[in-house]
């Protein structure tokens, strides 16, 4: 699509556009680098020389991260978050994948109504259900428990997972199912033996999104979790922030933020392409 005259001197003509993109990207990278550097400074340095590199990164880094991990209990919260996120992602996929398969590949009465019903949750602000949810969870004795949080996280993430996976299953070729049917396979067998294996990329994408969503979730955890030892990472950072505002240990808070964002960042670095392609898929429907 490039014309001859432009390809000869492309860099100069496009220079302003490179400049814009580089400035925007540099801002994001700079912001994160600044937080990471802050986590390696002493409190005095954060106030006194916010722009310089950390003078003693190893000693201050160890101090800040061990304060955050041990004294502020982020280690425990990290573990809680791993449990909650792991269980939620598994549950979300376990219920959403079969549902999406049926909604995408089979005809039955009420199919579009059910699709709309399951996806409608995307439009509901979670603050709306504060009162009924706390009543329900209290009645079920699930308030202030990690299993309760897992169930709620799974339920509120069904809509996006169903949307994404329905789009994915719809994009798979019909021939495979037909071939399996001719071979005498039941639909159950077809789903587990034929469709699930080829749907692995789509399910992986849904898993990544569910992971990020659940790992980051703050509001419902704030609503449902009371005990300190049941806090998830976002709740832990919030309480750390509340405490650190008083103790003015900003360096420790910087370290906590870094710990909080590491898992999603690592996943992003490894799977950015898949996430971006997955979004494109859900938007195309």
């Amino acid at each position: 699509m490039e014309t001859r005259s432009a390809s000869r001197a492309p860099s100069l003509r496009q220079a302003p556009y490179y400049a814009i993109l580089i400035v925007l990207c540099a801002f994001t990278i700079g912001l994160l680098a600044w937080v990471v550097l802050g986590s390696l400074k002493s409190n005095i340095e954060i106030f006194g020389s916010p722009w310089s590199l950390p003078s003693n990164p190893i000693a201050n880094g160890i101090k800040n991260y061990s304060t955050a991990w041990t004294t502020a209990h982020l280690g425990d919260y990290f573990f809680n978050s791993v449990v909650v996120t792991g269980a939620s992602v598994v549950l979300i996929l376990a219920v959403a994948a079969p549902a999406a398969y049926v909604l995408a590949r089979m005809l039955f009465i009420g199919r579009s109504t059910l699709s709309y019903y399951l996806i409608a949750g995307l439009g509901v602000p979670h603050v709306l259900i504060v009162v009924p949810l706390i009543v329900l969870m209290t009645d079920l004795h699930l308030v202030n428990t990690l299993p309760g949080l897992i169930l709620v996280y799974s339920a509120v993430n069904v809509p996006f997972a169903v949307l994404l996976l329905t789009g994915f299953f719809r994009s798979l070729p019909q021939e495979l199912e037909d071939a399996a049917a001719i071979d005498g396979a039941s639909r159950f067998t077809t789903f587990f033996r034929v469709m699930l294996p080829i749907a692995r990329p789509g399910i992986g994408t849904a898993a990544v999104f569910a992971f990020v969503e659940v790992w980051n979730e703050f509001f419902l955890a704030l609503l449902l979790i009371r005990d300190g030892e049941l806090r998830t990472m976002p709740l832990g950072i919030y309480s750390l922030k509340t405490a650190m505002t008083m103790t003015a240990n900003w360096a420790g808070l910087y370290a906590g933020i870094v710990i909080l964002i590491i898992p999603a960042t690592v996943i992003f670095i490894l799977l950015a392409d898949r996430m971006m392609r997955g979004l494109t898929l859900s938007a195309g429907k």
């Binding site: 699509m1 492309p10 496009q14 556009y17 490179y18 925007l24 801002f27 994001t28 600044w34 937080v35 106030f47 916010p50 376990a94 219920v95 079969p98 549902a99 049926v102 089979m106 005809l107 019903y117 399951l118 949750g121 995307l122 439009g123 602000p125 979670h126 603050v127 709306l128 259900i129 504060v130 009162v131 009924p132 329900l136 169930l151 709620v152 339920a155 509120v156 069904v158 049917a181 159950f188 789903f191 990020v212 980051n216 703050f218 509001f219 990472m233 976002p234 950072i237 919030y238 900003w250 808070l253 909080l260 964002i261 999603a264 992003f268 392409d273 971006m276 979004l279 494109t280 938007a283």
Partner: protein, 299 residues
């Protein structure tokens, strides 16, 4: 698909759908319906004291100055932030249509902030806006712009300040959606426009953008629904005791129901506020559909 095969698979349909429907209904859809009911009651949390008041909560809301102020702040984020965000996204969409190298890297870095937790975004931007050692104050101070030094997190400025943070977080996500639409525009159309002597920007405005209307609809709906409910980014800074002059609608719901310090437990009233938030989301989504159908008729 043959009908006979489908009829024989009723069991499959039911058993595959049931877990999702049960989980979603019990912990999400059912509470939504309960919320609609609760909004018609006056209730302080003790089961005996639940009193049906009809639409009284909604009538009182219309006379609640905190509510109107909260709506105003919510709209600063949704409308003001939306203009900023979509302006940026449409501009970057045109930039990324050009024959540039490293496009995938640029796109990925711009997309990255969306994986950050709202609570982290809020705290990071609290650092950014910090009067003593934040970069905004530093740069403004160096340029002698004392007015822009802050304090940006003072109650009267925090919502516009955080709107910038919200735009930073989500711009890459919406850029990606719009780029997905742009990718589907046939390349020969662009080539034809170029041969006719149209500049890159004219091609983008006149040829490409009109063809991504459907993706823009989805993006707009997602933004409206998503931006109205923003909570974490603001809560990260203002909770546990938000000043009433920083309330958005979602924070107001929280502080009227169970989130106050100490909680005020105006459960019916707070839930009615939540119903209005839902209504705004539905209204906003409906409006952007309207825009979409008009556009589709034009082309």
């Amino acid at each position: 698909m043959k009908r006979s095969r489908v009829r024989g698979n009723g069991l499959l349909v039911v058993s595959f759908l049931l877990p999702a429907i049960a989980l979603y209904s019990l912990f999400f859809a059912f509470p939504v319906i309960r919320a609609l009911v609760v909004s018609l009651f006056d209730w302080n949390g003790f089961s005996g004291d639940m009193k049906f008041v009809g639409l009284a909560n909604f009538i009182n809301i219309t006379q609640d100055s905190l509510f109107w102020e909260a709506i105003g702040r919510t709209l600063i984020i949704s409308v003001g932030g939306g203009v900023l965000l979509f302006g940026l996204v449409l501009f970057l969409g045109g930039v990324l249509l050009r024959p540039l190298r490293f496009k995938r890297v640029f796109r990925a870095i711009l997309f990255f902030p969306v994986v950050l937790p709202g609570i982290a975004v809020g705290i990071i931007w609290a650092f950014v806006y910090n009067y003593d050692w934040g970069p905004v104050s530093g740069v403004a101070g160096a340029l002698g712009l004392e007015d822009l030094q802050g304090p940006w997190l003072a109650p009267d400025r925090i919502i516009p300040a955080l709107t910038v943070a919200v735009v930073w977080t989500y711009a890459g996500y919406y850029l990606l959606l719009v780029l997905a639409g742009i990718d589907r525009v046939p390349r020969d159309l662009l080539e034809a426009a170029r041969l006719d002597g149209a500049s890159e920007w004219t091609t983008y405005r006149r040829v490409v953008l009109p063809m991504v209307g459907d993706v823009m609809d989805i993006a707009l709906i997602l933004w409206i629904v998503g931006s109205l409910r923003i909570f974490d980014v603001i809560a990260a800074i203002t909770l546990p005791m938000p000043s009433t002059s920083t309330y958005t609608l979602s924070i107001y719901v929280w502080s009227q129901t169970v989130g106050g310090d100490p909680p005020v437990f105006r459960l019916g009233y707070g839930t009615a506020l939540g119903v209005i938030l839902l209504a705004l989301a539905i209204l906003g989504a409906g409006l952007s559909r309207l825009r979409g159908s008009r556009q589709r008729i034009e082309f």
